[in-house]
Symmetry: C2
Subunit: 484 residues, 2 copies
């Protein structure tokens, strides 16, 4: 067994130790936590935005293509709502069709990092999105589609985008294309970047520097750290053994989590090669075929009351909104959004195996994935969609998660999905310790270490966006004070 | 800078040393080279096959879909010829459409490995494909689409497929999904596997065990080692430092090649992180959109004389063949094939940098790629397609390759592309040492080490099939006797 605890991150030990110092700085560095909350409240005031649901035929600048029925922007850019026809001949639902967001262009989700007094800080933005439930959320330094920063919509400049478009001048901690929700996007690909700068950076209105420790604390606040921030943070190189310098691991859970981060890529229940084989096998034996079709060819979905909905009311609606915002690139616009029908559950079951915390991940096929399967949380579902179905149709392990002894629930926060595409679409993010004697065996699930998940994140399309966000939450528990 | 010469291959040192012994066994092990040639000649006799070009409307079991014009199999399986509409707004040819092979199912290209007297051998098959120029070629142990081994075409069993379908019982040296020709396939994905068995394996008619050294020798024979074998062999873990035990590296070129294999993943002109950034940047800034469309919507292509051809005669034809074969799963059939218009050039320019051989690879966009860009050979083109164009339209570095001093040409063999889909489609595979003072700088090209290319091959869709095949050829030069 070969172990490469630091080499595999391709960042030098010095930076990794810096990240450990940043994670330990929970009370803040350049910005105190009290400062942050005052600043954020002021942003919320300044960025006040009105969002009003409207009928799809009231959208301005969007039209229904007469031939296909697709909902498209008049410029032909941004994104479109099209149809997706899916065949899964070996599954319980062997074929269906659905609306889907097609957004072929790649955006940048980028976080700028800089050291102050030896402690790395991250430049975060208070950003309002039309789908947000309640005011702004904390977004990456840059969260922009290519149309945004090439100015197709004649908006304002995208602040700081030059650091990411000319990133080779700086130091890249992460630069990797990743997918987004495979149930709602067709092959969506965004670029997740973390760029370290060593030159002074002017802080513009609506931006602030936070330590990794502060971000970890804020992840536990409902609807605060947005999806793009969570996904990008998961791509940070692991602090690894250096973390041991930041203090006590807290309790047995903390020790096991620390070892899960510091382990070599082949140390754990499975080797790296076994995990690669499992993913390749799942991708190669799952017969899933998805193809874009005209939206008007989508069965079982209907237009009514200005929305497109499934005839049962399940899954999601396509709806319109009118937005009147301050502090956005343009001040007023309308756009379509997807609204999931109910809050979802996104959960990791975790357990210690030989002293090392392992995470139960699922090889999950989604119609919009780039390559059939990505690794997903143990549980990822909208329970409401199963309310009328028999018990055996319930998602695997959902009852273990929802019925867990509260003392075993290590993380439980309701977080929003991307407010630029999803309307009031929230999930309960949970990390639950399995009972000590609980051992689940299912070919679609495997126990992986945090190190192994983080290694996979160096490459595209291994972890889905839900797993990436939840991994950031799990890493936020590292070196936290001992619970109760 | 962190170096992990062996760890990164995730196979233990013992196996890596075994591979080095296998590479050194050029005269053969279980099978002598003389035996091999007698066996192969007998196979050619036994497998005698007649292939007759026919008009597309003479195909049996295939039909033109009345709605789309696509050429499809009556079963709906195997593959189909459809249309692809491509937009590249920033390029010299901003949009085009073309026929394309759509084969959504994943096949297995698998080589079985077993040790005899401590020397790993590979079980190779003499296989006739309808597009081959001249008799059988050497294929992997298993080269089969899912329809083959799930018996959709009511053919014979696929020998040895059980070792790959139940691979977890054995030891996996490689198991990774990779693309095939992005100019002709739409998102083709095959599974490249190398499986080591430690139990006796009965050798069936048409199969033989060869050492890695023998395969390396045979790669230098025109049209012998087929595309699938080349691509799978490239996925073998690198022998690395262990290779030094097999003898002298020959000459300065051999020494530099050896160091290129043994270097750490961050040792070279660029670090691993810089390479990842380069690939992500190229993928994210290249605006290439490809979408399947009905074949009847493809412009500039016409049906004439029973084929589908470009109006200029360039690029390729879609044609039909009737095959009468012995030793195949079924004895007589017809099928469509793609025939490229002329032989192509697939070349690596290589040079020593600080004593380590580097390979000039190209970040190349192809319409059928899974994620826009894959790394390709320095030169990959069909010169004939440029014959009538001005000099400035000639592919970059083609003249350096074709005009090289013959003493700098380290590899020059004409090899066939996959004969199950391509008719008499051959490329000249070249490895050419650049002049010592030659330094090319172009944003689409980078100098990488053999180790770095091999590391990328552990993951999907970094190297295109042409680069993978050529990398196998480059690795075949390792530890060869000194040239002249």
């Amino acid at each position: 067994m070969n172990t490469t605890p630091l080499a595999a991150t391709t960042v030098d030990e010095q930076r990794v130790r810096g990240l450990a110092r940043s994670a330990a700085a929970r009370a803040g560095g350049l910005t105190t936590t009290a400062d942050f909350h005052r600043w954020f409240a002021a942003c919320a005031e300044r960025l006040h935005t009105e969002v009003e649901p409207i009928a799809l035929d009231e959208l301005v600048g969007w039209h229904t293509d007469p031939e296909t029925g697709n909902l498209v922007h008049d410029s032909g850019r941004f994104f479109s709502i099209e149809g997706l026809r899916v065949e899964r001949p070996d599954s319980a639902v062997p074929h269906w069709s659905q609306p889907v967001i097609n957004q072929p262009e790649t955006g940048i989700l980028g976080i700028l990092m800089s050291e102050f007094d030896g402690v790395p800080h991250f430049l975060m933005q208070a950003k309002v999105e039309p789908g947000n439930c309640d005011g702004p959320q904390l977004s990456p330094t840059v969260q922009a589609t290519r149309s945004n920063f090439t100015r197709a919509h004649r908006g304002r400049d995208v602040p700081y985008v030059e650091y990411f478009r000319d990133a080779a001048r700086h130091t890249l901690l992460a630069d990797v294309r990743q997918s987004e929700q495979g149930a709602w996007f067709y092959r969506k690909r965004n670029r997740n970047m973390i760029v370290e700068v060593r030159e002074p950076v002017a802080v513009r209105e609506g931006f602030t520097w936070l330590t990794l420790g502060q971000l970890h604390e804020l992840l536990a606040v409902d609807d605060l750290v947005n999806m793009d921030s969570r996904a990008a943070l998961a791509c940070l190189p692991l602090a690894g053994p250096g973390t041991e310098t930041v203090g006590s691991p807290g309790d047995a859970f903390g020790s096991a989590l620390l070892r899960s981060c510091a382990a070599g890529p082949d140390e754990g229940r499975h080797t790296g090669a076994e995990i690669a084989h499992w993913v390749t096998e799942a991708r190669s034996t799952t017969d899933l075929r998805a193809r874009l079709v005209p939206l008007r060819q989508v069965d079982e979905w209907q237009s009514a009351e200005g929305r497109i909905s499934h005839r049962t009311g399940a899954f999601f609606d396509v709806m319109g909104v009118r937005v009147r915002a301050r502090g956005r690139e343009v001040d007023e616009w309308t756009q379509p959004l997807i609204a999931a029908t109910g809050p979802g559950v996104i959960a990791f079951l975790v357990r210690e195996i030989d002293g090392v915390l392992h995470v139960l991940v699922q090889a999950r096929a989604e119609a919009g994935h780039n390559d059939v399967i990505e690794l997903a949380p143990t549980v990822q579902c909208t329970p409401q969609n199963y309310a009328h179905l028999p018990a055996e149709a319930r998602p695997r392990f959902l009852d273990e998660v929802l019925g867990a002894d509260p003392r075993r629930v290590r993380f439980d926060t309701t977080l929003s999905e991307e407010g630029g595409r999803f309307y009031h679409t929230r999930n309960r993010y949970l990390i639950v310790e399995a009972e000590p004697d609980w051992s689940a065996e299912h070919p679609d699930h495997r126990w992986l270490t945090v190190r192994q998940l983080t290694e996979l994140l160096r490459h595209s399309y291994y972890l889905n966006v839900e797993a990436r966000g939840l991994l950031a939450c799990l890493r936020s528990l590292l070196a936290a004070p001992a619970a109760g």
